[in-house]
């Protein structure tokens, strides 16, 4: 059951190609940021797949992106330049950080995916209605663009179908995360990461079904003996680095919660219709979701959110992931750490690159875990 997610993680491209075989004429759209309103793509029966890196060293992006931009963005672009996403019919981004926007614009110019769209997701999400009105109008333009491209009208019923599909998938993932609150979590952080990340490119219904089955038939009674391990939280920049998570959990800890765009932030809240027209409801959902730090102003609302996660999932410490050169998180992390430490939660910050320098990191992680336990030594 649960191992399905790892298979999906490793065979992401094969899955998409299979999907096209099973859905003749069906379109696949790659997206660069989780602010992309997948509801609308689903309404048009498009398969949205998140474009992520492969964590391998590469030498193809240097001509396109100057070295001070985050390695994750370059890794993403490299996937396109190396033809690994050649099955995409379209590619799009919802406005987020400058780094990933650059990967998108270079992709547009050099990868040659037939259709592309830049969707200006507002940054001033705390302006509430101003942002919602604006985004709803942009979503309307976007919907038209998709209609022109696919040659098919997208009605309110289609949108509602897309919304329902997204919400079901989100609910399933939240229930899966709920299990990790247990003193003896029935799944490892690695398994949870596989489940969370694959939700971003597997057909939502299919993914939700497997999550449900895993919860009901397997996990509920499962005992991995993780009860005694030090409970950790992961948060910060984009992070789907399974090698890193393996190393951390292999050092005597269990990761029980995260705040990443590749994790909980993706499915944390639903699109709620009550009264709103579908597009406004969708706009409101993305404006109100747990924000990327680049949109978290003038107030720092992520502080409370991250602290609440740490408390609700009862973690002893948090590992703060800084994707090298990721400015939005660099602007967030110092206050996040002060806030957690102030509340008795120790933190360890690590700067991630495309590949993990296991050597240096293992020492830091083990030493961090020692400060959280190892009383038998004194």
């Amino acid at each position: 059951m649960i191992e399905m997610f790892q298979e999906w993680y490793q065979a992401r491209h094969e899955y998409a190609r299979e999907w096209k075989k099973k859905n003749p004429g069906g379109k696949v759209v790659g997206f660069f940021c989780t602010y992309v309103p997948e509801e609308i793509l689903l309404a048009a029966d498009i398969l949205p797949v998140r474009i992520l890196g492969s964590h391998e060293p590469q030498n193809v992006t240097e001509p396109h992106i100057f070295g001070m931009y985050c390695p994750f963005c370059r890794d993403c672009l490299a996937q396109g330049l190396e033809g690994r996403y050649d099955y995409l019919d379209g590619v799009m981004i919802a406005q987020s950080c400058l780094h990933i926007r650059q990967a998108f614009t270079s992709w547009q110019k050099h990868v040659g995916t037939p259709w592309s769209y830049y969707l200006p997701m507002p940054h001033h999400v705390q302006s509430e209605d101003r942002a919602v009105e604006f985004y709803a109008a942009e979503l309307n333009d976007f919907k038209k663009a998709v209609e022109d491209w696919t040659g098919r009208k997208i009605g309110d019923d289609d949108l509602k179908r897309g919304i329902e599909k997204m919400n079901k998938s989100r609910q399933a993932m939240r229930d899966l995360y709920e299990l990790r609150k247990r003193p003896n979590p029935p799944l490892s952080g690695l398994e949870a990461m596989y489940a969370a990340v694959t939700e971003q490119w597997i057909d939502k219904n299919e993914h939700a079904v497997v999550v449900r089955q895993a919860i009901d038939r397997e996990l509920d009674k499962r005992d991995l003996g993780l009860g005694g391990k030090t409970r950790l939280m992961l948060f910060g920049s984009e992070d789907d680095d399974t090698a890193f998570v393996k190393m951390v959990e292999g050092s005597g800890s269990v990761i029980v919660i995260d705040d990443h765009c590749t994790g909980s932030r993706y499915f944390w809240n639903d699109t709620i219709l009550d009264g709103d027209d579908p597009l406004t409801a969708i706009a409101r959902r993305y404006v109100n979701r747990p924000p990327c730090p680049t949109k978290d102003w003038p107030e720092r609302r992520r502080l409370a959110h991250v602290l609440k996660l740490a408390k609700d999932w009862n973690v002893a410490g948090a590992i703060v992931i800084q994707q090298k050169f990721c400015d939005p998180h660099e602007l967030d992390i110092p206050e996040q750490r002060r806030n957690l430490e102030k509340n008795g939660i120790k933190t360890l910050m690590l700067e991630l690159d495309v590949t993990v320098p296991v050597g240096q990191f293992k020492i830091r992680v083990e030493a961090f875990l020692e400060t959280l336990s190892e009383e038998d030594l004194f």
Binding site: K346, Q360, I363, E366, A367, E370, T371
Partner: protein, 289 residues
């Protein structure tokens, strides 16, 4: 290979007045670092013997070599050791070890022994990493910070310079102090760039001591930055090979305005010492091979 100026000289020591057979608890620690390895044996919490050797490309052998050298001239053998804790890069590859603990914890504990329980901030400069460690009165690590990507300020940088200038690593500190006035620090703290910058200075006719002074102060400044990020809570002590480099230490003390504690022990054995102390604690709690 040409003469290796960067290499630390190997050494060993043991206390002939101690008869380990009469001791209650014999505990051992071995620190297999990237460049050098140390082994320590303690009897009832007293230092019995230690060694300071070079790490080979095979860490199990290096661990055995280090312990073997420490035990030279004693009637104690590796097989007699009831419990050994390994630390350092090769901590998991100690054939005769029962447990692996990071060098951060071990240096914290070792410094507590070497410098006394009043120490609160430990600076350890190893070959690859530079660590600022906060410890409590028991020597338990409460917080620590390690150098970021720019590994400048690690022992490695000084070794590269020793090699470049053809000065033994043991002498670079003294030599760097033989300047009338302090030169501008080298602008780049990156080892690679500092090296090419230094070759430039040499070409420009700078004497060795002046070049060393310029690098030492750049290094001290960089390390001071690391210490300030975590905060220097007195008392303050330095472990690892760099503690022996008076050139860096005096400049560092000047920068942070705090003198570092002195110890009669070899600062390079702090990690192995901490490991042996942990082994002792574990033995007392019933730990066995």
């Amino acid at each position: 290979m040409a003469e290796e100026f960067w290499r630390w000289t190997e050494s060993r020591w043991h206390d002939p007045d101690i008869d380990w057979k009469k001791g209650q608890v014999v505990s051992a620690g071995v620190d297999v670092g990237s460049v050098s390895s140390q082994a320590v044996v303690m009897v009832d919490g007293r230092l019995y013997c230690y060694s300071n050797t070079r790490t080979g490309s095979n860490s199990p052998d290096s661990a055995v070599k280090a312990m073997g050298m420490a035990l030279e001239g004693t009637d104690l053998t590796i097989d007699d050791l009831p419990y050994t804790v390994g630390t350092g890069y090769g901590r998991v590859n100690v054939p005769f070890g029962q447990r692996a603990i990071t060098e951060i914890a071990c240096h914290g504990r070792g410094a507590n022994f070497m410098y006394g329980p009043s120490i609160r901030t430990v600076l350890d400069m190893g070959g690859q990493d530079c660590k600022a460690i906060h410890v409590d009165e028991k020597g338990k690590v409460t917080n620590f910070l390690m150098n970021d990507k720019c590994a400048a300020g690690t022992g490695r940088g000084m070794e590269v310079f020793a090699d470049l200038l053809g000065v033994s690593i043991n002498d670079v500190g003294e030599l760097s102090l033989k300047v009338e006035e302090e030169p501008e620090p080298v602008s780049s703290t990156c080892v690679v760039f500092a090296k090419s910058e230094a070759s430039g200075l040499l070409r420009a006719g700078w004497p060795k001591e002046k070049v060393l002074a310029a690098y030492s102060s750049a290094m001290a400044h960089r390390v001071a930055g690391l210490l300030e990020r975590i905060g220097v809570e007195p008392d303050f002590g330095i472990t690892g090979g760099i503690a022996k480099n008076v050139g860096v230490v005096t400049r560092l003390e000047k920068e942070i305005g705090i003198k570092s504690l002195q110890s009669k022990y070899d600062s390079q054995i702090a990690g192995a010492l901490g490991a042996a102390l942990f082994a002792e604690a574990l033995i007392k709690k019933g730990a066995k091979k």
